[in-house]
Symmetry: C3
Subunit: 265 residues, 3 copies
């Protein structure tokens, strides 16, 4: 893993085209901007192919996916695969409705995704493993989590990030744990969406999806840790959101090297 890709991204300024949900696009766009990427959001079918053609990476977020946008989504994914540029899936609440599950599984059947980023419950749905979800915090049984990300990665021949108190990352073979984190990240609705798009951005400049996933996870987690430290770990979602963007705009490979806690699981 070459953390100097954090600076590399700033100099390359990759364009990340997002099919985003309508709740968090402002956070995601500003987060991408903060790390040095150029965000584009759209859902107009007629521009999908062209946007995917100028993109350095494409991210599909199912948070508020709609039937009428499926043409857009499909053309985005198809063009990304044809151009062999990174394609990332965020299967938000994939288990919540039949529509969303059907759409997510269809996309995974038709296209190759380089990274899937979800919480452990969402990843478990994709892996076909029964996971006891307890609200948003989906628990952290290491062995089970390891099995879930590995199986999901193998099934879809992809790299998986299951983010939470610990981020589990697997390419189907290795499983890596990112132990950096803060209880404050879940205070922000959309911190997961942000990580998915950041993972897309790093995929555009990093050699392998497994490395990109780790660097993206570290950038968000270490920025979160630093922001939490500034707030003395108080539960302050407004100030944390602002501070997180500020930290992301200033994070360096040096800082991440000094604070990263990465383990094989």
């Amino acid at each position: 893993m070459n953390l100097s890709d954090i600076e590399g991204l700033r100099s390359k300024n990759p364009i990340v085209v997002n099919y985003s949900n309508f709740v968090t696009p402002f956070l995601v766009a500003n987060g991408l901007n903060a790390i040095g990427a150029s965000p584009i959001m759209s859902n107009e079918g007629d521009e999908a192919t062209e946007l995917a053609t100028i993109a350095s990476a494409v991210v599909v977020n199912l948070g508020t996916a709609r039937k009428e946008d499926e043409e857009f989504i499909n053309q985005l994914c198809q063009t990304a695969n044809q151009r062999k540029i990174p394609l990332v899936l965020d299967p938000v609440a994939i288990g919540a409705t039949k529509y969303r599950k059907k759409l997510g599984l269809e996309l995974l059947k038709k296209y190759h995704f380089d990274i899937i980023r979800g919480n452990i419950g969402e990843i478990a749905v994709l892996a076909g493993i029964d996971w006891q979800t307890h609200g948003i915090d989906a628990g952290d049984s290491t062995d089970k989590a390891k099995e879930v990300v590995q199986k999901c990665a193998q099934r879809y021949e992809t790299t998986v990030i299951a983010s939470g108190k610990v981020d589990y990352i697997s390419d189907g073979n290795r499983v890596v744990k990112i132990l950096n984190n803060t209880d404050l990240l879940p205070l922000i609705v959309g911190s997961g969406d942000l990580l998915s798009s950041v993972a897309g951005a790093f995929c555009a400049v990093v050699k392998t999806p497994l490395e990109a996933a780790q660097i993206a996870s570290l950038v968000v987690s270490c920025s979160g840790e630093a922001a939490a430290q500034v707030l003395e770990k108080q539960t302050l979602p407004g100030k944390f959101m602002s501070e997180l963007l500020d930290q992301m705009a200033n994070i360096t490979s040096k800082q991440v090297t000094e604070t990263a806690k990465v383990e094989e699981a």
Copy 2:
């Protein structure tokens, strides 16, 4: 009114499904998250029934309502009524266009809403009372306001919150005034939307809509007052928005008990 429901909500973590407008969903989602609820936003017809089935409460905001979303809205409302879970209406700018007024009145005809939350001008439109609106601040003639909320509540057999400098709340019988407030709340576009969804969340854990409405109003107003105090009442919309979320994330029944100014009107 049992203010310990403020802590009760945090422990129960109710799911609030929102048909939101596209301007303020991020604020509303983060505000719901701050008080301990779990927000879901969508407008895909195919998921409406399932989402309303996992919901603890449903909130319909007409701020940017569209014809193409009406199937979604109707299925959401129908399922909420069938399941007898709380249903809240925010009739944003109901008097501004024929389309919006028609849609709002149709929904009120077909479904039972537990709470309607609007400004006094919007509530007056629903009550069929002529109200002189002076821009956003719709004046505060107590007697007239009392008549408006009571008549609206009676007409639709619901509980009404007319929020403003003073929040007037009525179940058609009693009228309660919440005197807590701050001039800074109108600085935030979406503070009304936020109150509507917070009211939905409290409806899910509080015995009666009248109590839920009062607690929701107090949570937002007292958080607003505390935030304004931190800012020494300066006109600072950016910092106020951030501080409001921070206060909402930390508000306790003790704090509200000590600061609440509730009167019969």
Copy 3:
């Protein structure tokens, strides 16, 4: 140019109806609110005519324009022209896709826009001039920029704002440079969208589009400069966003008079 229109806008509280993109409407709405305007966003065709009828100004932003919204956009523009109220176009990324370019040029053919606000690259596309874009910062060759804004303004008989490190403003005849600015504005995704809508608001209360464009540019630029000064020019997008809104809510004609750097180009 009469800077007391800054206070004039606050007292007149013009309604600005926006066809906005779905990424930045919350920022734009809160920015409009901060300067004393009343924002309305919608994309429902059935309300377009009525909304444009109560509007003091209309702003069309193509950032996430969709075919299904074209009826709404057209009725908005048509009504604005019929009522002779200000109409503003923000041709976001007009050169990025055929769809967007076609839509933008069609609108410019059918309707008269009082102001077009874009970055220099977007304005160059409309002017039909080849402009070497280097990422987001599109360079600042004064002579070329002058030619671009002048030609665009002449071609569409409009007033043009090309915003960037320097804002170039032209009514086709004069070209004015606003030298106030800060490197921090591009940290915010949506600062351009915000300027476009602020220009719409000032068009509603200022005599000529050329004056309105200058005052709008000064309000955003001087607020940005003041916010950057508070942050000691550090790269802090979260705090800058918050501080920018705070500055906009408090900006006065006196402050702008003392800090404005306006030159004929």
